[in-house]
Symmetry: C2
Subunit: 416 residues, 2 copies
């Protein structure tokens, strides 16, 4: 088989994680040493950077800074939330992409993100195949939500899960400090899948977690919720509750939706938030005690200082695998993780799954991993999640603070 | 001088920190090996535990678990917020304390906390002196607020400052990820002193901090605030703002007070919170863009996983020094820190200051450490704070999660 020689480009897309840059490091470092790849580009703000012909020449970066990307949270070359229309409805963007790919002889397209990003990658892949432009398109998974289909788990999840579990353990220590009643409702990210909220159960497994955990996989019933809290409060006057931002009622209403109208983002997803606050207020009214609302907010997705070494390494390897697969002729796939146990020890194998599988199908927490009362997780989840949070790998310290990568971000000159 | 032989008791009081247990470890470990001390008690929920004759026999604990207290956040024997009345107005509590002290031959009283706790310690010390009960009373400082007088800094501050600075750096990485406008108002604890909020400037010093920092030391003017934000927004469409929960207007009004009535806690302090939310809402209305409100909430005071090794060690030593001072005959003092530079290298010396000095006097950030426009800190603050956040010292990991101390908490039998 003749080797496909040309430039490659990586786009980062969707919300940040602690390890999306680790995957970028994997792609860049592998691509820079790969003989099939002539130029290594990083798209400024994902697909938008390609449409706008705005990308960085990664060969201009200091190799040590590329190494530091492994422990630099968020998307250093910039991310985007941009939904490509269907090519049949409006081919404008696709034609423009093709034009840019041709102009710079870009033959390798790597796209790193979650469901929506895999949808983008899939659409680009299918269009380029049809157009006749020979190109290898590989998706690199990323999402703290852990909801991509076709993979055991997603890079970004382990670190966010470690943050959630550790922080719940610390909150438990804090909560028990006074002998007066204490309730806290803690809101965790996860729109339609409860994976990240479920990670709170790892703290419960260690005896120091929330008393109640509510996932979007289970219909939220406010009366049952009050009843659950009442029972927990009868057992102890300290009650900590983990709620996914995405819990919704039988009628499909999110908690804050019951009180105000929600804005939608450019993918048509409702902008969530406020679930903890609404519930805390309701509990306060009901029990007549102080109830704290705590939102992990952006912290849970960028707390690199609590990254799981397992996650960082797998994220990096996913980037490397993407380049290796593409340059060996594979296209239209996403790198996926397969869990194996060797002598009872967790290991991660890298596979390739069809982009069609990964794009836009959300994988949720299996219902039989949730306790019958719908307020906790059973051992199946613990066994699943525990290997993913092992090991520490944080940025080196400088002045006692993280030393993140400093990229030069040299824009490629537009050779018009 | 004849040695005073008897039992000792430690009370933890006020809000948790990442290192208050490190000071407790210092007191317990030193007291257990000290020949003057017959019994080592830990008061259940501070002064309340003594009044209620409810305390733990610390000699029953596994020494390894006492060691683990160094890296266990919050107050493991329980804390309290309880204000002693003046003895002249109502001696009931004091007479009861004296009764308990006599009953158990408690001759050493250690009290670990912030301003209000030093007030308690001071009152107990003065009353016992007057009563003729020979007793050594030593305060051990603790507060993330860093606002105790008579000491260069307070145990708990370094770790909280490290959390704040690190988290702002991570938030900056997250904030710049999209090319769309982004504003965030981040609320940091600190009722009347801006020390902890000021720690955000350490992130700015590293080039990755908030654009604007508002401390309670400077009168808050909403019009000026809008103007400051406008200017920052003109420079970059990403604006991160750090606000102390305690910022107030010339008229002495806290930001949320302008909108709703506040409850007061048992010390008469207003229960704050909501500053970020109110300001974010106002900015959203003004600029017409999405503005996030982020509250560090309890996380900033219990995030032991980000503890400063300098802070942990100093906190432990403060406990040790308290016992050493008391058993050598000192009373009515608080352990204080004095900063020295040996060959340009920061070192901490331990001193003793009068409890009168420490009790109820709040030390605020010097005005000449704040930039002229009132929205940042200058090099004086950086030089002050940087040594306090050096080194990592977190709990050992078990299953990838912190292994905190497990105390048996064996209650002393009431020999009625």
């Amino acid at each position: 088989m003749e080797k496909l020689i040309g430039a490659c480009i990586l786009g980062q897309s969707g919300g940040p994680t602690s390890v999306i840059n680790a995957s970028a490091a994997g792609v860049f470092i592998e691509a820079l040493r790969n003989e099939c790849i002539t130029e290594v580009y990083g798209a400024k703000n994902g697909i938008k950077g390609i449409l706008e012909e705005s990308f960085f020449d990664m060969s201009k970066e200091n190799p040590e800074e590329l190494e530091l990307l492994k422990t630099t949270p968020s998307s250093s070359i910039g991310s985007v939330r941009y939904k490509l229309k269907n090519a049949e409805d409006d081919p404008t963007d696709y034609n423009r992409l093709l034009e840019v790919f041709k102009k710079y002889n870009i033959r390798y397209f790597f796209y790193n993100g979650g469901n929506d990003s895999m949808d983008t990658c899939n659409k680009v892949s299918k269009f380029m195949k049809k157009s006749g432009w020979e190109m290898k398109c590989i998706g690199v998974p990323k999402t703290i939500d852990n909801d991509l289909s076709g993979t055991d788990h997603c890079p970004g999840y382990g670190s966010a899960a470690k943050y959630v579990a550790t922080t719940f353990m610390e909150l438990r220590q804090d909560a028990v400090v006074y002998d007066t009643p204490m309730m806290a409702v803690v809101e965790v990210m996860g729109r339609n899948a409860g994976w990240l909220t479920a990670a709170a159960s790892l703290a419960t497994y260690k005896g120091q977690g929330p008393d109640l955990i509510y996932l979007p996989e289970i219909e939220f019933d406010f009366e049952k919720f009050l009843n659950d809290v009442q029972k927990a409060y009868a057992r102890s006057n300290k009650v900590i509750i983990a709620v996914s931002e995405g819990i919704k009622t039988k009628e499909g209403k999110y908690v804050p939706e019951l009180f105000s109208n929600l804005e939608k983002d450019s993918f048509g997803h409702a902008q969530l938030g406020g679930t903890a606050q609404v519930l805390a207020q309701k509990l306060k009214e009901h029990f007549g005690i102080k109830v704290r609302a705590i939102e992990f907010s952006l912290l849970q997705r960028c707390a690199q200082h609590l990254a799981s070494a397992t996650d960082v390494n797998e994220a990096f390897n996913a980037g490397v695998e993407a380049v290796k697969a593409a340059t060996s002729g594979v296209t239209d796939k996403m790198v996926a993780f397969k869990r194996e146990y060797v002598d009872g020890k967790y290991t991660c194998k890298y596979e390739l799954v069809d982009l069609d599988v990964a794009a836009n199908a959300e994988k949720t927490v299996p219902l039989d991993w949730i306790t019958p009362d719908g307020t906790g997780l059973n051992q199946k989840f613990i066994d699943y999640a525990l290997p993913l949070i092992q090991g520490d790998m944080k940025a080196p310290l400088e002045d006692g603070l993280p030393r993140f990568a400093h990229l030069k971000k040299v824009l490629v000159e537009r050779n018009d």
